[in-house]
């Protein structure tokens, strides 16, 4: 089966003070359609760089990115992308923000609104369409931002620490909410996080990145059955996997400290 996204030997180098500095070492990933894939690693390991490359916002130094077998290096608009900050335009209402992607693609406003409203209703934003972003809580704003990404109609969605700025309670609600959406829409999701619990709870596959310059250290497939429940987070299996991942990550940190 052809992978949905294939990343072949992608790396990123910067030149600073006449020296070439690697931000991300050669990385290769193959992701099948409909999987929920998380990437965890210490900060500055190039996770966001990788996302920017997949989204076509920055060119890689080497390698290629294939989506459905087509090279999408330097091409924007092939994947939906959501950042940690909600990036809602403050002068637009929630509804107008959600239809932004469709508006850019030139879909008539009425059609866009007709598609957006039922989704807002179904996914917890009912009655907020005429509100401005600043009137909503952080969790609600993230919902709006994710719906905007979804309505952009791409099979692949990149989520860069979308819940990083939320409190623990809201985060839990949002994780379940995201799983619901992922089940309903069947998109391929690439998810960056710092939170090991979050990674295990949500993912099919977890890629562990080493510290800067980043490279893939381990791939772990989470076979815990779905639908998952909050209680699963305290099961012995979950704890065991968490231990393993913590070891992986702290090994990375030890290396980093030795290098300093």
């Amino acid at each position: 089966m052809q992978p949905k996204i294939e990343i072949n030997g992608v790396s990123k180098w910067f030149r600073r003070n006449g020296r070439d500095i690697p931000a991300m070492q050669e990385t290769s990933l193959k992701i099948e359609a409909g999987r929920f894939v998380s990437i965890i690693g210490p900060s500055g390991c190039g996770k966001s760089t990788l996302f920017n490359i997949i989204a076509g916002l920055i060119p890689p130094s080497t390698g290629e990115v294939l989506a459905d077998g087509e090279n999408i290096v330097g091409k924007t608009g092939y994947v939906g992308y959501m950042l940690q900050k909600d990036m809602l335009l403050p002068w637009r209402t929630i509804l107008e923000n959600i239809i932004l992607g469709m508006e850019i693609r030139g879909i008539p406003r009425k059609e866009a609104v007709d598609r957006a409203l039922p989704l807002m209703e179904k996914y917890g934003l009912k009655g907020f369409d005429k509100h401005y972003p600043k009137e909503l809580s952080g969790g609600m704003r993230q919902r709006a931002a994710l719906l905007r990404t979804l309505l952009y109609d791409r099979d692949i969605i990149l989520l860069d620490e979308p819940f990083g700025a939320l409190d623990a309670q809201t985060r839990l609600t949002m994780q379940n909410w995201l799983l619901q959406i992922w089940t309903d829409f069947g998109k391929t999701v690439l998810f960056v996080t710092h939170d090991i619990d979050e990674a295990i709870y949500l993912s099919d596959d977890i890629y562990v990145f080493s510290s800067r310059p980043g490279r893939v250290k381990t791939k772990i497939t989470v076979t815990m059955e779905r639908p998952r429940k909050t209680e699963d987070m305290t099961s012995p299996d979950f704890m065991e996997l968490k231990h393993l991942l913590l070891d992986q990550l702290s090994a990375g940190h030890a290396e980093e400290e030795l290098a300093l």
Binding site: G56, L83, W91, L100, I104
Partner: protein
């Protein structure tokens, strides 16, 4: 609180509910509450009171100022020849309004000011916004913009008057040159403050550059452009008046110049007062404009 569960690692307490409180105690509570009216701080009333106090205070200062001015000039502590007096200024103003050409002068001055202000602000804003399109273009232009800003543009007045004649348009041009640079620099600050992640998001949604420009850069920079309006209206008026000082056949500035030459100090004061009122009126106009623009953007 009662313990309901005790285990080796934790204890659970259940909180007592309302039903557990004895009835007599409950009654006592409600009785004591009704004895003294609760002290509720009425924020709105306090706010109104404060606003009234400020309003009256302002009026009192104005009245006091005029009384002191009038009295001092009458008893000779201030020489009425130089300082005139509120009553004399009022009489002269009335005379100029009813018999002289003061109304025409006001129209002339405000006309050139407003025209210069509108065109200067619009062109400046467009110039500032255009810097978003290319960093090299912005980098090349920036020092020249700063030089233009630092240069006393009023010093150019004689050249502009010679170039454009002593008519209306040399005044408009002066007001324009006073406002365009400020407006351009403000818009450029707005452009520079646009969150790069916001642009990133737009590109990731497949936006073209012009879509990012119209949907993000312009609305994002609007507060900066709007904040330059208040400064600009005062600058435009100063430009128009200096233009009239240099050479003009009409306008409040020309009237002041003329009054100064014939040593009619009362008339000079009339001009100063009229300009102050005019400048205040324009300022409030701009404040209203700001409110309208901000509302249109859904900000605040």
């Amino acid at each position: 609180m009662e313990e309901t569960v005790r285990k080796s690692t934790f204890v659970i307490h259940s909180l007592s509910t309302d039903a557990a409180v004895p009835v007599a105690e409950k009654k006592l509570k409600t009785a004591s509450a009704s004895n003294s009216a609760p002290l509720i701080y009425d924020e709105e009333a306090a706010e109104r009171k404060k606003a009234r106090r400020i309003g009256w205070g302002r009026l009192a200062v104005a009245v006091l100022l005029f009384i002191v001015w009038e009295v001092f000039t009458r008893i000779g502590w201030l020489d009425p020849y130089y300082w005139s007096s509120p009553s004399a200024i009022w009489q002269t103003t009335w005379l100029q309004l009813s018999e002289g050409g003061l109304l025409g002068d006001i129209a002339y001055t405000s006309g050139s000011t407003v025209l210069g202000f509108v065109f200067g602000t619009l062109c400046g804003a467009m110039l500032g916004l255009s810097f978003w399109w290319s960093r090299s273009y912005a980098g090349i232009s920036e020092p020249y913009l700063i030089i233009l800003n630092a240069m006393p543009k009023l010093a150019l007045a004689p050249v502009l008057v010679i170039l454009l004649g002593i008519g209306f348009f040399s005044k408009v041009a002066l007001a324009f040159s006073m406002t365009i640079v400020v407006s351009a620099l403000s818009a450029y600050s707005g452009v520079k403050s646009v969150d790069p992640d916001m642009e990133k998001l737009m590109y990731s949604l497949g936006a073209k550059r012009w879509q990012v420009f119209t949907k993000v850069v312009i609305p994002w920079s609007m507060p900066w452009i709007i904040s330059s309006l208040r400064i600009n209206i005062a600058l435009a008026l100063a430009g128009a008046i200096v233009g009239e000082f240099i050479a003009s056949s009409q306008g409040v500035g020309r009237m002041i110049m003329y009054a100064g030459t014939i040593l009619d100090i009362n008339l000079v004061w009339v001009g100063v007062v009229v300009l102050s009122v005019l400048s205040m009126a324009m300022y409030w106009g701009v404040v209203l404009l700001e409110k309208g623009l901000s509302k249109g953007l859904g900000v605040k």
